[in-house]
């Protein structure tokens, strides 16, 4: 797909640049003429949306760091100073805080889209694995960031998450102490978390570069999951997908703006508007919504080490998906059984999220949620490690269309417009 370059420098200056640093050529080939399947739907616009989210977080974050003070005694007040005194500080902080939620919302849609259309399958395994790495980095960044306001939930969230490492046999306690730089979460912890929170987004940006690079070797997958066979199957990225991505991006920004301007604390926790107090734990420690499914898994396992292993395993599992899926068909559109199992899987994730948000001893209609969470956790792992390999072998896929163009334009595929 990344065939010979079609870049044709127009002026002498462009030619001069091109011979020395072919950056305009790269931009031209990857964002202008890049042949893209003509049938990408709304779910394929989230790559662009995610790039936007990363940029917004980095820009707002750099600005917030101009006013934030990473000191256990001053951090909370410095955030309030941003909210009250800094010009537009409230706006920038609310964008950054809600931006994290919007970022994860987009990344989950992006991941489920990849799962549904089999975008992780040969030849796109590395794109998927790099994506899992980005997701991990995002979780780490979000966690470090959530600690910085130094409210009650910041402090106790940091305490609980760092204590996960103490579950590791023999060296666990030493690792926890090493992470804290003290006997408990404190000033030293806050400072290193701030440093890492500032660093990681730039690493993410770099890995995103690899993600896109890897994508541009085989080109986009598409909702049919079939390969591009002729130029008729594709359209140039610009203007077709630039304008489509831009339109859906603006819709996404509208949703974003509704939260920032009209429900800025919707995703927040009231406890985080109280300064950190190492002597009083809030009654319910809840992570941000995007980590709730993993938190529910952790809590549903009565053994500390096992709980941590299960939670970590849930993420590590994602790396193996390209080889766990044995089907020769990519898209769930043509996989009648897998389609259902996929939606059950999505449901299990939502249920896990719900369980994670509720208190430990909560029940729904008399059923203790801990058992609901166990069931959903079991399905999570069974989906990847049992159903995916087995169903792939025994399922009879529906008949695939001959080509993307035929599917979109109809059999009679009259002479294409181009």
């Amino acid at each position: 797909m990344s065939g010979p370059s079609t870049y044709n420098p127009k002026s002498g200056f462009e030619k001069w640049i091109d011979q020395r640093l072919p950056l305009p050529r790269l931009m031209h080939d990857t964002m202008h003429t890049f042949p893209t399947p003509r049938n990408l739907n709304i779910w394929y616009t989230f790559g662009g949306i995610l790039t936007f989210c990363l940029a917004v977080q980095i820009v707002t974050g750099i600005v917030l760091a101009m006013h934030y003070v990473a000191n256990a005694d001053l951090a909370f007040n410095s955030v309030e100073n941003i909210m009250r005194n800094v010009n537009y500080g409230w706006l920038i902080r609310y964008i950054h805080a809600n931006g994290a939620s919007m970022f994860f919302l987009a990344v989950y849609i992006h991941m489920f889209r990849g799962l549904y259309y089999g975008s992780y399958k040969n030849p796109r395994e590395l794109i998927w694995i790099i994506g899992v790495l980005i997701y991990l980095l995002m979780m780490a960044t979000a966690f470090f960031g959530y600690v910085l306001p130094w409210g009650q939930m910041s402090f106790w969230g940091a305490t609980v998450i760092t204590n996960l490492f103490s579950a590791i046999p023999v060296v666990g306690d030493h690792i926890a102490t090493w992470l804290w730089g003290d006997f408990a979460v404190g000033d030293a912890t806050l400072n290193r978390f701030f440093s890492l929170h500032y660093l990681l987004p730039f690493i993410i940006a770099g890995v995103v570069g690899l993600h896109i690079w890897a994508l541009h070797v085989p080109g986009n997958n598409n909702p049919l999951g079939i390969d591009v066979k002729s130029p008729q199957d594709t359209v140039p990225f610009h203007p077709y997908y630039t304008v489509k991505d831009a339109f859906y991006l603006v819709l996404f920004v509208i949703l974003f703006a509704v939260f920032v301007f009209y429900a800025p604390n919707f995703f927040g926790n009231p406890d985080n508007y109280q300064p950190a107090n190492p002597l009083v734990t809030p009654p319910d420690i809840v992570p941000e919504w995007y980590l709730l499914p993993f938190y529910a898994m952790l809590r549903s396992i009565p053994n500390k080490l096992m709980g941590v292993i299960v939670m970590g395993g849930a993420i590590v599992t994602l790396v193996f998906i390209p080889w766990l899926d044995t089907s020769r068909v990519r898209s769930c559109r043509f996989r009648p059984t897998m389609k259902w199992l996929f939606w059950f899987f999505a449901g299990a994730c939502v249920i896990l999220g719900y369980c994670g948000a509720k208190p430990v001893d909560a029940a729904f209609a008399g059923i203790p949620l801990v058992w609901v969470a166990r069931l959903a956790t079991a399905y999570y792992f069974a989906f990847f490690w049992l159903l995916m390999p087995i169903i792939g072998l025994i399922e009879t896929p529906k008949k695939l269309p001959a080509s993307i163009a035929q599917s979109v334009l109809g059999d009679s595929a009259a002479a294409p417009a181009e």
Partner: protein, 189 residues
């Protein structure tokens, strides 16, 4: 057929230009909060007023206070210093303007315009060249030739009314907005 294509092309071009223009306007508008956040915050602005107690300052002495993060010179001048200052014709000054925030921008740099009460000189202690703090001149330790101040960074010399007389500084030392709340108290800012 050709006409239709060209119409469609025009309409498409218009929509491109409209989207691009609106996008540019949006980005420009969104940039403002990110620029304005670097300006002084409302807390910094509210802290922009300082009250200083001048009751303990002796004639011939200068006391330095802090005002908006800068040194604030309050000098109680001796009659001799006042006379020296009054003797200088405005036409002989490199900067003939009073640079007094309490007066009109074009007020002349006479001694009366530099000090409302002749005995008290209130100045921002920032050299108008590149922002160093000039050193005060006293009969025991004279600084420069004019009995006022000498900036050690690049050798600007000020007289006993804080006016630039020699050296690279372009303007007289600035006089902030101030009022006498009483004989011993000044509100600055």
């Amino acid at each position: 057929m050709a006409a239709t294509t060209s119409d469609a092309g025009t309409r498409r071009d218009f929509l491109y230009v409209a989207s691009g223009a609106m996008g540019a306007v949006g980005v420009a508008a969104a940039a403002w909060p990110f620029i304005d956040q670097m300006n002084p915050s409302s807390a910094a602005l509210a802290a922009g007023t300082t009250e200083v107690d001048i009751s303990t300052i002796q004639p011939g002495q200068q006391v330095i206070f802090k005002f908006r993060g800068h040194p604030l010179f309050v000098r109680r001048r001796t009659p001799k210093e006042i006379e020296e200052s009054k003797a200088v014709p405005v036409s002989a000054l490199p900067d003939p303007l009073a640079e007094n925030a309490n007066l009109a921008a074009n007020a002349e740099a006479t001694d009366a315009n530099r000090a409302t009460k002749p005995e008290w000189l209130v100045l921002i202690g920032v050299c108008t060249h590149l922002g160093c703090t000039p050193t005060v001149s006293t009969p025991q330790m004279p600084q420069g030739e004019y009995g006022g101040w000498l900036c050690h960074c690049h050798g600007s010399q000020y007289d006993t009314a804080g006016r630039i007389r020699k050296g690279p500084a372009p303007r007289n030392l600035d006089i902030p907005v101030y009022t006498f709340l009483s004989d011993t108290k000044i509100k600055v800012g």
